[in-house]
Symmetry: C2
Subunit: 270 residues, 2 copies
């Protein structure tokens, strides 16, 4: 079965080529895992989605509309990946947002399991990317549709033995994976880069930070150089589709045994 | 008459919601003025379009395909604005560019004259924008579909008496207008910011630099602070739709009389 798309609730509809989502990337999205016929972390995702939309000044459709779309897919929904998109829709020409925008909402459901399901439990092989993320505090943390940096970073390697790339900013601070958030464990602390200048703040990262703190582990959200990540007891990447994975290798550095990932994954799944 | 859209040569077709142009802004575009039934600077625009596509590793459709699209519109083409878009098309899930991409080409022709046709010949009123452009050398100069910074900058003002906004980078260097390139005249030199860290290198700017140099005016493409722009004898903005306009006011600073814009406009139109 191929992917199913709904555009403003209509299956098989195409997108208006004048939609600002295409013309400017003027919109936001979420990517969710579907398991046992249900999208995972639906409420948390929708909350975060609405918060991101607000950052762009986008009116967010009522939750009942998204639930209605989901109900349309229900008969097909098994496992796979669900993508929700919201754009500022069409409107007059030019960058200026229309005064009375008609946002466009889209769902894309792909029943194929993610490639990450075949990733080794022993840990991932990470590449240190050449591309440095640009800084834009007004967009930092938001999962918006301007993702060319991620595309260019992912195009840096073809080797299927490399699972993910690590991204730094211009100053050399570690920010995230190409498609994931990065966390590391050091001396009993869960550490993760601050995302106030670039990067995307994922729901799984937020959940993990919250649950780790609740379980009594100190959580440090700060600026970290590559040296600090390399000195970690264990490095992990996460997102809502892949879940939480430990890193076994980053360039020459290897982490042969888990330090905290087993406990943290249990917290996440609890 | 409303806008006419062609998607891969087909009128009235919608865009695949899984197109990477929407999902990631993975594509490039040009905006052209149409005058007397003909798109202006067609060859220069197509050359620049192909060069931008190459920067993203996109296969560029043969010129005959674009010309064929244009021929389809010919009966309608009078004046207005023509937009050409090229995306990396659909493909497998995720940021990784597909190995055998099927690029999607689009034309959007809007017969409405641009608002800038009503702008005062005496000069424009510019706002100094709050937003600072982020730096990404890999994308700098390219007219790609990741334009959220422009959208956010344009949303800074509603006052119809303000025609354009001036954008700086994080270090305070002047880069461009929100939708235009910026040039200024000082002591017989034509100056314009370098666009190797951010900004879009427009065809009209390139043409003006070329022709000014050929006419014997020294052209300086360099880094400029706001103080240097404020100290200019005359400031101008240009793009392919608005042409070349002088600036009459930027915040408190005014430039009541032209210094070079009349000569430069003549060079551009020659």
């Amino acid at each position: 079965m191929s992917a199913v798309c709904l555009v403003n609730g209509f299956a098989g509809a195409g997108l208006d080529p004048q939609d600002r989502g295409l013309l400017y990337g003027d919109g936001v999205f979420r990517t969710l895992r579907v398991s046992g016929g249900r999208p995972c972390l639906w409420e948390e995702q929708l909350d975060r989605f609405a918060a991101d939309a607000a950052r762009l000044g986008l009116d967010f459709p009522e939750a009942s509309l998204w639930r209605g779309d989901l109900a349309q897919l229900a008969a097909n929904l098994a496992g796979g990946v669900l993508k929700l998109l919201l754009t500022r829709g069409g409107g007059q020409r030019g960058y200026r947002p229309p005064e009375t925008p008609k946002p466009c909402r889209m769902l894309i459901y792909d029943p194929a399991p993610p490639q990450s399901d075949a990733w080794p439990m022993a840990g991932l092989n990470l590449r240190l990317c050449e591309l440095r993320l640009g800084a834009q505090p007004l967009l930092a943390g938001v999962k918006h549709l301007n993702r060319l940096e991620n595309v260019l970073a992912r195009a840096e390697w073809n080797d299927p033995a490399i699972h993910e790339g690590l991204l730094r900013d211009e100053a050399g601070r570690v920010i995230s994976g190409v498609m994931s958030n990065v966390l590391f464990w050091r001396e009993g602390h869960l550490c993760t880069p601050r995302l106030d200048r670039c990067g995307v703040a994922g729901v799984t990262r937020a959940r993990l930070m919250r649950r780790a703190a609740a379980a009594g582990y100190p959580v440090r959200e700060s600026e970290f150089g590559l040296d600090e990540v390399l000195a970690a007891d264990e490095v992990m990447v996460c997102n809502s589709v892949i879940g939480l994975h430990r890193v076994a290798r980053l360039g020459e550095r290897t982490w042969p045994v888990p330090a905290a990932s087993t406990r943290l994954r249990a917290l996440l799944d609890a």
